[in-house]
Assembly symmetry: C2
Homo-oligomer: 174 residues x 2
């Protein structure tokens, strides 16, 4: 499958609803347990996604499309949610994510990106030269990766409870 | 986290809505592409989940709770969806899954399972002795595993489109 803007937006616009369906109203053990030391809980992951909406995707797309000479992105803070999420319930974070995503998809529309923009370049602080198409494909895959991660983290809470079925449940070994 | 019936039902009752949010209305490439030869597409996975609702979880729970002497389960057909899904749209399969799951959760309620039932046993044709608690934990983990799998299969469609970001997207290596 080659990059397609409207097919990427299909995924990006569905993620808030998917995360709501997956997480809203669950007991604390499902939301706050993680996979062990220095790993993230579903709650942590939603905070990370909120931070991405604020500082990553659209911000970087605008840098690529700008007329600035220096198109180097700010490094993304992978641990920002440790402070940013403080005092917020998962419900509040899901609402915040949903609102920010919807605003960002509006902004994306307003950028009126055409195929000739897809190969315009920016500079990633670690990865070097990247283009707009790669950024938008990564935004999409990043959503799917964190949906998979949340489901995996939750499944691990029952790792020993499944008994002998452990042998058939590949998710518990990932 | 130790097994808890109502916390398992939290997950089991949310899965249809999660799958609807994740998949309904997507373009064919997201729904019918897989990870390569002999792997499943999201469409295949929903067919597999439908078959599980028909032949696996509640059927086996009833065998465990029955007064039959022979409590050996029928082997589960992992490829039944290849025929069963024929001619059905993903929308139809999602509807079917949602309806069956809701019926099965009603049946589960009617079984009025108490803690003393949790350790009652059945015989898995391959894994040997298993108990009711393990069956219900497995049903829950099985849902989460397939949600993660669907997100992973979709993410892989953009494996090369993300360019250098491939290095940061663990989901593409699973």
């Amino acid at each position: 499958m080659t990059f397609n803007l409207s097919k990427s937006i299909e995924i990006l616009s569905k993620t808030p609803e998917t995360l709501n369906s997956l997480l809203n109203g669950l007991s604390d053990e499902w939301l706050y347990n993680n996979e062990g030391k220095n790993t993230w809980s579903p709650y942590d992951i939603i905070g990370h996604l909120v931070h991405g909406e604020k500082t990553d995707w659209i911000v970087r797309a605008k840098i690529i499309l700008s007329s600035e000479r220096n198109k180097t992105f700010e490094p993304f803070d992978r641990f920002a949610q440790e402070n940013d999420s403080k005092g917020k319930s998962i419900h509040e974070l899901l609402e915040e994510f949903s609102k920010l995503r919807s605003q960002n998809l509006q902004e994306l529309k307003m950028l009126q990106i055409s195929e000739s923009d897809f190969t315009k370049k920016g500079m990633h602080p670690k990865l070097g030269e990247v283009n707009l198409q790669q950024l938008l494909a990564t935004w999409t895959v990043h959503d799917l990766g964190h949906i998979a991660q949340i489901a995996r983290v939750m499944s691990k809470q029952y790792a020993t409870e499944v008994g002998p079925w452990n042998a058939y449940l590949g998710i518990l070994k990932k």
